[in-house]
């Protein structure tokens, strides 16, 4: 392979997007060409610099999107099932409001506040009588009445503080529920951080393996892997770790999985490790996997 050809392959080689034949040719060229080695090191620096870009993802934005979409969907399904009328027209309008970002729900909430304040005497409690202010409100339906009033069904979520020891079933259940709190990765990390000390409970371990396998946030998956560390020798945990190693899209998570797997030699994962050698892009993980296979006296590839 000539230098120009090798340099041209750097992007694809780095992403693991070349055939094994090209991979070998690039590697043997790099082994004998100091200039290309230097170029490749610069290329790796370029890729690493690109990773400095942080994902911009605000939890509040996700919540807003979900709320807006639920209302949009309600309008969509109502449009399918109902006939005409001013309410349907109003619901239809919500579709056109997408680019304008004026959810019908926001208007409905204003209406709710206005009607609530106007028609509910405070001495009878009314809206102000709630124990706490709603944390989250979502308008589910709006029905006009005959006398100019409007009936609005609102789902509200309120906050309350629950205190107790880790040994209490209701506290443990809340923590287990919090592991699946899909809109808040911070809560999931915190709950796993507390629960991991009770990972001898089968239910907790199952929650941790679920989080490792399915949580969309890599930080949460890493925390759950940390909780599973003492159980890396268990067959079911090792199966989960092998799946993570093969399928997780985050290299940091895969690195932790291979580190945990390496701590215990187990012939049953040879096939998985050989698959990893075929598919893995990350050099560190490939090296660890190769070393592990060699230590187990297994072949590196499948034939």
């Amino acid at each position: 392979m000539k230098c120009a050809e090798a340099v041209e392959q750097f992007p694809f080689y780095s992403y693991g997007e070349v055939s094994s034949e090209v991979e070998e040719r690039v590697e043997s060229h790099l082994a004998e060409c100091a200039s290309c080695r230097q170029d490749f090191a610069k290329y790796r620096s370029f890729l690493e610099a690109l990773d400095q870009r942080e994902d911009v993802m605000e939890a509040a934005l996700l919540t807003t999107c979900r709320t807006d979409f639920r209302q949009l969907l309600a309008a969509e399904t109502a449009g399918k099932t109902r006939g005409g009328g001013w309410l349907e027209t109003l619901r239809d309008l919500s579709r056109f409001h997408i680019p304008l970002r004026i959810p019908v729900g926001a208007m409905a909430l204003v209406a709710l506040g206005w009607f609530g304040a106007r028609y509910t005497p405070e001495k009878f409690g009314g809206i102000r009588a709630g124990l706490t202010q709603p944390m989250f409100s979502s308008v589910q339906s709006i029905e006009p009445g005959n006398s100019g009033q409007v009936q609005i069904a609102v789902d509200e979520v309120q906050r309350r503080v629950v205190t107790g020891s880790l040994g209490e079933p209701r506290i443990q259940q809340l923590l287990l529920d919090a592991v699946r709190e899909e809109s808040n990765p911070g809560v999931r990390v915190e709950s796993i951080g507390v629960l991991k000390n009770s990972a001898d409970s089968e239910e907790v371990r199952r929650a941790l393996t679920d989080a490792v396998s399915h949580d969309p946030n890599p930080g949460v998956r890493l925390k759950a892997l940390e909780g599973l560390t003492p159980y890396a020798g268990d067959a079911s945990v090792r199966k989960t770790l092998a799946n993570v190693l093969l399928k997780d899209d985050n290299a940091g998570v895969r690195v932790q999985a291979i580190d945990l797997l390496t701590a215990h030699h187990d012939d049953s994962i040879v096939g998985v490790l050989q698959d990893v050698m075929q598919k893995e892009d990350d050099n560190y993980i490939r090296t660890r996997t190769r070393n592990l296979l060699q230590a187990m006296k297994a072949s590196i590839g499948t034939y």
Partner: protein, 214 residues
């Protein structure tokens, strides 16, 4: 999601089976559809945010894409993965936004401030607990350099680069998503990489730590 009693909705705690969920949603079950949305919406929103660098546009993409999914789910025949099908919709909506932005010559999220140009989206990320100021400066400059370099790509190059480098998708999957061949996606990635590297080579990282010759 917590209800008034502080418990998690059972619907979201149940084990997920994607194919079963899709079939149930295809039969009109709205709970199943919502669960399907929840399985993917974080990654969809992240992709839209990273491609468009605008919370407002990302929000529009979320609504438009999932509404299209809802309206067309009955046409999904399992002849590709749901992920590919969904991302095909999402990337098309994102590409439309990027192309409209080109036509409108819309400004990027980079705005002029007394301290020089600042990427508003990067600023959102950086407004956390104070870290090493030199490191912050370096990160800000680098992030702005990357944002500017990405702005210099065509919508298609940008999408391919985002999906390959940041989302980690294989070129074959990217080809499927964009309705093109793996080879075409590969060529697109090559052009994008060359442009990115050229833009970042002229980027002066300042005196901060962690600078690297690119």
């Amino acid at each position: 999601m917590y209800d008034a009693a502080g418990t998690v909705s059972a619907i979201l705690a149940a084990p997920l089976d994607e194919a079963g969920l899709i079939r149930t949603a295809q039969r009109g079950d709205e709970d199943a559809f919502e669960r399907l949305v929840r399985m993917y919406d974080q990654s969809v929103l992240r992709l839209a945010m990273n491609l468009l660098r605008s919370p407002d546009e990302a929000r529009d993409v979320y609504q438009e894409a999932f509404l299209k999914v809802y309206r067309n789910l009955h046409l999904f025949r399992f002849d590709c993965s749901f992920h590919t099908w969904l991302y095909r919709i999402v990337t098309n909506v994102c590409l439309d936004h990027l192309r409209r932005r080109k036509v409108r010559k819309e400004e990027s999220t980079v705005v002029e401030t007394p301290d020089g140009p600042v990427d508003q989206v990067t600023r959102i990320v950086e407004e956390g607990p104070a870290a090493n100021p030199e490191r912050q400066l370096w990160n800000r400059e680098l992030s702005q350099g990357i944002a500017a370099a990405l702005e210099g790509l065509t919508p298609r190059e940008r999408t391919v680069f985002e999906l390959r480098h940041y989302e980690g998708l294989r070129l074959r999957a990217i080809g499927d998503i964009l309705g093109t061949t793996e080879e075409a996606a590969k060529n697109c990635l090559f052009r994008a990489t060359q442009k990115m590297r050229a833009r970042l080579e002229t980027f002066a990282p300042g005196s901060g730590q962690g600078s690297a010759q690119l």
